[in-house]
């Protein structure tokens, strides 16, 4: 009898374990331990979430962390590698030291240089202790056999040894050094923003060789994706300086805030990563970002400027389009409905010199992500199929110059450029 009970218990344990393993393979949602960071693996999972490793190392509908996502760059297309612990196709043969070298130095196990699309210039700031926890987490993942796709980089960018030059110019290795003049919270924020969070991968301005300065979160156009990642420091762009910490935390955690909603690639960052980050860490990021003094105005984009006459015609047409298509949700006074429909009056994310974001929002609309704090988001319809380039230029110009807004007009040519970018 005892034996039968024992056997039944073992079978039950195996089934439960199998179900847990299978569920883990199927879902990309973090396990509950990730939030509390229990144990080294749990802590590693939490850190991997902050780093948003999943976003690049997973294809839509694919197995988590098995790689294969195409990353189009101005230099060719990279395919992200499999970082599950499969010995043949993943990183199963990496030692803790190999893993550290990849993150801290951007060098693969075979000694080849990694392309800086992998943000090792940020990950080099991560402490050894945190890197080890991440290693423990990745080694505990179910291995997935999925061979890596070879990169399709153009000559000369396909010559990896040439990266030695890039590294000499732009790579500053070394863990984060705390600034003793600042609070522990500020330092935690800096550690996360400059390190694992790799915010400047999008919010920094990449130069001709795809390099971005280590502490530059001054805004930039994301190559190929063609969304403009606003400056996190300039008061002309996100203007975080005059946001409450609570509103920044809300935006990062739930995707919406009274000041605006996330859209474009930031929706993915909130969905995969930030909604799982603790309020303490998000507050630290907010405190650090708010404290960044204005580091010069963001660069003015080169663009076609409509004449005054064209602008006044667009404002007239735009007002009528706004009333017909926009006012029901964003309200006639442009104030929106807090946390439901973002305000357009004084919403800096659509008033930046670079007009691509409001243009693309009107073209393709969209929903903020489902998050615990906002599980059933309200959305915006796409208008690309209903409005012409001229009409969209008119309504965006109207929005950018009404209710106290005073951003430059946009031309139909810029709308046409926005139309050319795939929605996904």
């Amino acid at each position: 009898m005892k034996r039968t009970v024992l056997l039944a218990a073992i079978i039950l344990a195996v089934v439960v374990a199998a179900v847990l393993v299978l569920r883990r393979e199927e879902t990309v949602a973090p396990s509950p331990t990730a939030r509390s960071g229990a144990g080294e693996i749990g802590r590693g999972e939490y850190l991997a979430l902050i780093g948003d490793c999943l976003a690049c190392h997973t294809v839509r509908g694919g197995r988590p962390y098995a790689g294969g996502l195409p990353m189009p760059t101005p230099f060719g297309t990279l395919y992200t590698p499999n970082i599950t612990p499969d010995k043949e196709t993943g990183i199963g043969n990496y030692s803790a030291e190999d893993f550290r070298r990849a993150l801290h130095e951007g060098i693969a196990k075979d000694g080849s240089y990694l392309y800086p699309a992998f943000p090792f210039n940020n990950y080099t700031r991560v402490t050894r202790e945190d890197v080890d926890a991440m290693y423990a987490f990745f080694m505990a993942l179910p291995p997935v056999r999925q061979p890596n796709k070879p990169h399709e980089m153009r000559f000369p960018y396909n010559q990896r040894q040439l990266l030695v030059g890039w590294r000499a110019l732009y790579f500053n290795a070394g863990e984060y050094k705390a600034n003793p003049a600042q609070s522990a919270e500020w330092n935690r924020g800096a550690y996360l923003v400059e390190g694992l969070g790799h915010c400047n991968a999008c919010h920094g301005n990449r130069n001709m060789l795809g390099a971005v300065k280590d502490d530059d979160v001054g805004g930039g156009l994301i190559p190929v994706q063609n969304w403009y990642a606003p400056s996190l420091t300039s008061n002309r762009e996100t203007g975080l300086g005059d946001w409450e910490v609570k509103d920044i935390v809300d935006l990062l955690r739930t995707g919406v805030s009274p000041r605006g909603a996330v859209f474009g690639p930031m929706s993915a960052v909130v969905a995969h990563s930030l909604q799982n980050v603790t309020i303490g860490d998000l507050s630290a990021m907010a405190v650090y970002l708010k404290a960044q003094a204005e580091k010069g105005a963001p660069s003015e984009p080169l663009q076609v400027r409509p004449t005054e006459e064209q602008t006044s015609a667009m404002l007239k047409a735009g007002a009528a389009i706004y009333e017909k298509h926009c006012a029901d949700c964003h309200q006639p006074d442009g104030k929106g409905v807090p946390r439901v429909y973002p305000p357009l009056a004084n919403n800096r994310s659509i008033l930046m010199p670079h007009p691509i974001n409001p243009i693309r929002m009107v073209l393709i609309g969209g929903f903020p992500p489902s998050t615990e704090g906002n599980p059933r988001p309200f959305g915006m319809p796409p208008f690309a199929q209903d409005l012409s380039d001229q009409e969209i230029a008119s309504v965006v110009t109207y929005i950018r110059q009404s209710w106290g807004n005073s951003a430059p007009s946009v031309s139909p040519t810029e709308v046409r450029l926005g139309r050319g970018v795939p929605a996904d």
């Binding site: 409905v337 609309g365 796409p382 209903d386 929605a423």
Partner: protein, 244 residues
């Protein structure tokens, strides 16, 4: 908060939640100014984002392209399609973009919302020749066993109004839409969970078959009772992923 609790007594829970959200939001952004605007905290309001293409009642709209009817299709079918878009099994970039970061419970709610709408069907299309219609009718009702083409009715129901829980009705749809889906399956632009039975069937159809089938389907008046056949009432001739 005070406003919220005063109004709470006469509001439904949903409305209360929204007032809460709206009043706290307003207090942060413009203290002292007039009250922020409100919208109904309902699934209908949320689906305004979809109405511009699919219609206010999910009836589908003909523009330069055709945006399909969603209303009344089985909830599991609609949910499967939302997942297919999200996971990019169906290659429609704008749809993938719209649903990319929406949770499964929310997508299920969206599917159920459209299932329960029943706007009128469009007027049947006319103009196809008798010969084409006859060929279409034969394929739809009897298939072509010689070429291993099952009848549409074998899976989509005798009345062609679908089969619960996951097979959609195929009457009352626009001809271009049906033809486009067939093309999508043939070239791999539209996929379902394997085994992808519709892709198999579409690949066995010639362009002339598709021309005839879509002409006949689009010419059928929708029956007054458009509800799908009950689950398990048909023995499917093919194995299909995601339909059980």
């Amino acid at each position: 908060m005070a406003i919220a609790s005063r109004m709470g007594a006469q509001c439904s829970r949903e409305a209360l939640a929204l007032v809460l959200v709206a009043s706290t939001g307003g207090a942060l952004s413009n203290a002292g100014a007039q009250e922020p605007a409100k919208v109904p905290n309902t699934i209908e309001q949320r689906m305004q984002a979809c109405a511009i293409c699919h219609g206010k009642q999910g009836e589908g709209i003909q523009k330069n392209e055709y945006y399909p009817r969603l209303a009344g299709k089985p909830a599991v079918y609609l949910y499967n399609q939302l997942l297919n878009f999200r996971e990019r099994r169906r290659d429609v970039p704008i749809m993938t973009y719209m649903v990319a970061y929406l949770s499964e419970p929310y997508l299920r709610e969206i599917a159920e919302y459209y299932t329960n709408l029943h706007p009128p069907f469009p007027v049947p299309a006319t103009g196809a020749s008798k010969a084409v219609l006859a060929r279409g009718e034969k394929l739809v009702t009897a298939g072509d066993p010689g070429r291993e083409i099952p009848a549409c009715a074998a899976c989509h129901g005798k009345a062609l109004t679908g089969l619960l829980p996951a097979i959609p009705g195929i009457v009352g749809l626009n001809r271009d839409y049906i033809a486009a889906q067939m093309g999508g399956w043939k070239i791999g632009q539209r996929n379902a969970e394997p085994p992808d039975c519709m892709a198999e069937v579409a690949k066995r159809l010639t362009p002339e078959d598709i021309f005839a089938v879509t002409a006949w389907l689009a010419a059928q008046p929708a029956s007054p009772d458009t509800s799908p056949a009950p689950a398990g009432s048909l023995q499917l001739p093919l194995k299909c992923g995601g339909v059980n």
